[in-house]
C-alpha cells in the first residue's frame, strides 16, 4: 500500500517535470496568444482544457505554468539549500561568536512569518521570476540553517569525529567527510519537503497579485487570474488548484519515503 502510494507520487512528479521540460513541444498554442473572439470556451477537442478570459489556451498555459512554478521553486530551493546548509555547517564547526551571531540573525528571520518577509522583499525589489525566487529562498534559508546546524552539532560530538580530530584531521576534512555525509540524510528529504512549500508560497504570492508578472503563467497566477470566474467557467480555476494540491501531496509522500530510505541506507553503511 505504502509503496504504491509512493510510486504514484513519484509518477505524478515525473510526469509534471516531463511536461514542464518539454512545454515548447507539448503546448499546442503559445501561452500568450490572445484570441478575444474565442474567450471562455469550455473544454473541446481544439482546446482540451478550454480557453481563458482572454481566449488563451488553458492547457498550453498550464504546461508553461508547471515549468515556471517548478523553476521558481527549484531555483529558490537550491539557493536556500546552499546558503543555509553551508552557513549551518560553518556555524556548528566554528562555534563561539560566529555561531552566536549567525544563529541570532537566522532566528530573527525565522521568527517573522515567511509570507510577510516574501511580500516585503517583493515590494522592495519588485515582482518577477527572479524577485519571487529571491523572496522565497530567503524565507527558506533559516530552516536549512537550523536543520544543518543542529545535525552538524550532533555529528561533531560523536566518538569517531573526536578520534579523527585526535588523529589530526583538518577542519575541512571533518566538515566534508563526516558532517557533510550525515547532513545529506537530513537535508535531502527536507529539501523535497520544502519544494512543496516553495511551490505553495509561489502560488500564495501570485494569488495576492505579487509574484511572476503576466502574461507569464504560473500555477499561482493562473488561480489569481481565474478565481473570479468560478461561476462562469469553474474548470479554469479547478485545474491549477488540483495540480498544486496533487504536487504538494506527492512531494510530501516522497519526502517521507526518501527520509526512510536514506536513513536505512546510512545505517547499513
Amino acid at each position: 500500500m505504502r509503496g504504491l502510494v509512493a510510486k504514484i507520487s513519484l509518477g505524478i512528479i515525473f510526469a509534471e517535470i516531463f511536461l514542464a521540460l518539454l512545454a515548447n513541444f507539448i503546448a499546442p498554442y503559445p501561452y500568450y496568444r490572445v484570441d478575444l473572439e474565442n474567450r471562455l470556451r469550455p473544454p473541446s477537442p481544439t482546446h482540451i482544457l478550454g480557453t481563458d478570459p482572454l481566449g488563451r489556451d488553458v492547457f498550453s498555459r498550464l504546461v508553461y505554468a508547471l515549468r515556471i512554478s517548478f523553476a521558481v521553486a527549484i531555483l529558490s530551493l537550491a539557493v536556500a539549500l546552499l546558503i543555509g546548509t553551508a552557513l549551518g555547517m560553518v556555524s556548528a564547526i566554528l562555534g563561539s561568536v560566529t555561531d552566536a551571531v549567525l544563529s541570532w540573525i537566522f532566528d530573527v528571520v525565522y521568527a517573522m512569518p515567511g509570507f510577510f518577509i516574501a511580500i516585503a522583499i517583493l515590494l522592495i525589489i519588485g515582482s518577477g521570476v527572479m524577485g519571487t525566487a529571491a523572496a522565497i529562498s530567503l524565507t527558506l534559508t533559516p530552516i536549512f540553517f537550523r536543520l544543518s546546524r543542529s545535525a552538524a552539532r550532533g555529528v561533531l560530538v560523536k566518538q569517531y569525529v573526536e578520534v579523527a580530530k585526535a588523529l589530526g584531521a583538518s577542519t575541512l576534512r571533518i566538515a566534508l567527510n563526516y558532517v557533510g555525509r550525515e547532513l545529506m540524510a537530513v537535508v535531502i528529504p527536507a529539501a523535497v519537503y520544502m519544494l512543496s512549500d516553495a511551490i505553495a508560497l509561489e502560488a500564495t504570492l501570485s494569488v495576492v497579485g505579487l509574484g511572476v508578472n503576466p502574461p507569464t503563467p504560473s500555477l499561482g497566477n493562473m488561480i489569481s487570474e481565474y478565481k473570479d470566474y468560478v461561476f462562469v467557467a469553474p474548470w479554469l480555476v479547478a485545474t491549477p488548484i488540483a495540480i498544486i494540491a496533487l504536487t504538494i501531496a506527492s512531494l510530501n509522500i516522497l519526502a517521507k519515503e526518501l527520509d526512510k530510505k536514506l536513513n536505512a541506507f546510512l545505517e547499513a553503511a
Binding site: M1, L36, P42, L123, P214, D228, V232, W235, A242
Partner: protein, 531 residues
C-alpha cells in the same frame, strides 16, 4: 497518514470532474433561458414613497477609506457618505446627460464676474436637529478648500490659490461667494460631494484633521451613519427629519466584499439586495438566475498613460493609439459593457466633444513608429493588481503593441505602490488607470502642466491657456468653442492611449424597485423601495 493523502487525491479528482460536469449543466441552462431586462436605469416616479421598515443590503467591492466626507476620495466613500451628506448643488442623470441642479440652494444669481449670490432652501435640518444656515455653508466650504484633496483641486486655480476669496454672509439663509477671478465651472464644482455641507461646530472642531467619531458624521442627507466597522460594514438609519422626499427603507447596510465571487454568491443567495462592481462576464450567469442587471454609461475613462517625458515624440504616442483595436476590446473583453472612447471626457458630460477617432490601423502605426525611429523599443507597462480587468487589459495591449513592433513588459503592483509610482514618482513608460471626474472642466484639468493627477507629465502651454480662458469666459457659445478646442488639442497630443468609457454595472434582486444609478458608480436611492 498516506491513506489520508490518498483520500485527498481522490477528493480533488472528484472535485475537478464535478466542476466540468456542473459547467456543462450551467451552460445548457444559460442557453435555454433568455430573459430581457431593462439595460438602462429607469425612473419610477411616485408621489410619495411607501414607508417601509425594510433593510436594504448593498455589497461594495472596496472598503471606505474615511468617514469624513471632505477626506473622501474613493467610489465607496462617496457611495456610503453620499447618503449622509449633501452639497449646495446636486448631480443628476437623465439617461444620457448629467445635469447640475440646485439642491440645498433655492436660488442663485451671478451678481458680476466674481460674485455669486446664493439663497438656501428653508427648513433644512441637520441630523443633530439644528437648522442649516449660511454659517454652516461658509465653515464647510472653507474646511473643504483647506483639507479636502479633491475639494482643493476643485476650488483652487492653476497656481494653487483658492478660487474663493471670501464668503460673505448676508443673513441666516443668504450668502455671497466672492471669487478671486471669474470661474465659470463654479456650480458644477459645488455639486461635488467633496464640498458637502456639515454643521459649523463640527467643521470647526475638526478644522485641522479628519472626523474620527461616527457621532460627528452629521449631514443633511436622508440617512444617518449608525456604525462603521472597518473592512466589514457600514450601517445607516433613515433620518426622519429629512427635508426632501423621505426614503422608503428604514435601514441601509453596506457590506464590504472585495472578492468578486463573494459578491455574486451573496446576491444569488439573497444575503444582499444589490451588488456593485459586477464584471460584465457575470451578467449572463446572474440573469439566468433571475437577478436584474442595470447598466449606465460611466465617466471612468480607461486609458494607458504614456509618460511624455520618456516618449516626447507625439508621432509615437499617436502610433500607440492607432495600434489598439478598441472596438474588439469593448465588444469581446468588456462584452459590450463599455463605450469606445471618442473623446477625452465621457459622453454623459454636457459639452463633451466627439472627436475624430483613432481607428485601428496597424500599418499606419508601424509607419509612424518607424518614421520616429522607435521600432524595437522596449517599454514597461505598469498595472495595479486592484482591478483584475486592468490586468487582463494589460495583456491585450501588450499583444497589440507587439504587432506594431513595440515590446512591452508588464509589471503589476499593489495599488498604493502603483499610485505613488505613477502620480508622485512618475517612474513608468506606460500605465493603466481610469480617472472618474465629476465635471468636464475637472476632467480637463488632469492634463494641466504639473497637475497632481497628471501622471504622464503632459505639458502643453496652449492647454493651460485654454483652460484659464474657459474659466473666465462668460459667453456660453464662446466657452463651448474653447472647450472643444482644448479637448481636440489633448486628444491629438495623445498623452495616453484613450481606450474606453467603462459602463457602471450593478446587480439587484428583482424585489428592488426604482433604483437609479449615476455614471460615477453611485446609487440613487431616492425613489427606491422593496416591492
Amino acid at each position: 497518514m498516506n491513506r489520508k493523502f490518498l483520500y485527498l487525491v481522490i477528493l480533488i479528482i472528484i472535485a475537478v470532474l464535478a466542476s466540468y460536469v456542473s459547467e456543462s449543466f450551467l451552460t445548457r441552462r444559460g442557453a435555454s433561458i433568455t430573459i430581457t431586462v431593462p439595460t438602462t436605469s429607469t425612473t419610477v416616479y411616485l408621489l410619495s414613497n411607501p414607508m417601509q421598515n425594510a433593510t436594504l443590503r448593498i455589497a461594495l467591492s472596496t472598503d471606505i477609506s474615511t468617514i469624513d466626507i471632505h477626506y473622501a476620495t474613493g467610489v465607496a466613500d462617496f457611495e456610503v457618505l453620499g447618503n449622509v451628506y449633501e452639497s449646495l448643488f446636486r448631480i443628476t442623470y437623465n439617461g444620457s446627460k448629467l445635469a447640475y441642479i440646485p439642491w440645498l440652494v433655492k436660488e442663485f444669481k451671478q451678481l458680476n464676474d466674481t460674485a455669486w449670490l446664493f439663497v438656501l432652501r428653508n427648513g433644512i435640518m441637520f441630523q443633530n436637529g439644528e437648522r442649516l444656515t449660511a454659517y454652516d455653508v461658509k465653515a464647510s466650504l472653507e474646511r473643504s478648500m483647506r483639507l479636502s484633496g479633491i475639494g482643493k483641486q476643485l476650488l483652487t486655480d492653476a497656481k494653487g490659490r483658492p478660487i474663493i476669496s471670501d464668503i460673505v454672509i448676508i443673513n441666516d439663509t443668504a450668502f455671497i461667494i466672492m471669487l478671486r477671478e471669474p470661474f465659470t465651472p463654479l456650480i458644477e464644482h459645488l455639486a461635488h460631494l467633496s464640498t458637502a455641507i456639515m454643521p459649523r461646530d463640527v467643521a470647526l472642531k475638526y478644522w485641522n484633521g479628519p472626523i474620527n467619531s461616527t457621532q460627528d458624521v452629521i449631514g443633511t442627507g436622508p440617512f444617518m451613519l449608525e456604525s462603521y466597522e472597518k473592512g466589514s460594514r457600514a450601517v445607516l438609519k433613515r433620518f426622519d427629519g429629512y427635508w426632501g422626499r423621505k426614503p422608503a427603507i428604514q435601514n441601509l447596510v453596506y457590506l464590504i466584499l472585495p472578492d468578486a465571487n463573494a459578491r455574486i454568491s451573496a446576491i444569488l443567495s439573497g444575503s444582499v439586495d444589490i451588488a456593485t462592481g459586477v464584471s460584465p462576464d457575470m451578467v449572463n450567469t446572474l440573469r439566468a438566475q433571475g437577478i436584474e442587471v442595470y447598466r449606465v454609461t460611466g465617466v471612468r475613462l480607461v486609458l494607458v498613460a504614456i509618460n511624455c517625458l520618456r516618449i516626447p515624440d507625439v508621432r509615437v504616442r499617436q502610433a500607440l493609439n492607432y495600434a489598439i483595436n478598441r472596438s474588439a476590446i469593448v465588444k469581446e473583453l468588456m462584452d459590450g459593457y463599455a463605450q469606445v472612447a471618442m473623446g477625452i471626457a465621457s459622453p454623459v458630460f454636457p459639452d463633451a466633444a466627439v472627436l475624430e477617432p483613432y481607428n485601428y490601423n496597424v500599418s499606419k502605426a508601424r509607419e509612424l513608429i518607424e518614421e520616429a525611429g522607435f521600432a524595437g523599443k522596449k517599454l514597461t507597462l505598469l498595472v495595479s493588481t486592484r482591478s483584475p480587468k486592468d490586468v487582463q487589459l494589460a495583456q491585450v495591449v501588450q499583444q497589440y503593441l507587439k504587432a506594431v513592433g513595440v515590446d512591452v513588459e508588464i509589471v503589476q503592483m499593489e495599488h498604493t505602490a502603483f499610485l505613488k509610482r505613477v502620480f508622485i514618482d512618475h517612474d513608468f513608460d506606460l500605465a493603466i488607470y481610469g480617472p472618474s471626474p465629476s465635471s468636464l472642466y475637472y476632467a480637463l484639468t488632469y492634463w494641466r502642466t504639473n497637475a497632481s493627477l497628471n501622471g504622464p507629465q503632459y505639458s502643453n502651454p496652449e492647454v493651460d491657456v485654454l483652460l484659464d480662458r474657459i474659466a473666465r469666459e462668460v459667453n456660453e457659445s464662446k466657452r463651448l468653442e474653447l472647450y472643444r478646442d482644448v479637448q481636440e488639442v489633448i486628444w491629438r497630443d495623445a498623452p495616453a492611449m484613450w481606450l474606453y468609457f467603462e459602463d457602471v454595472v450593478v446587480a439587484a434582486r428583482p424585489s428592488v424597485k426604482g433604483l437609479q444609478i449615476l455614471p460615477f458608480q453611485k446609487l440613487v436611492l431616492d425613489s427606491m423601495y422593496i416591492g
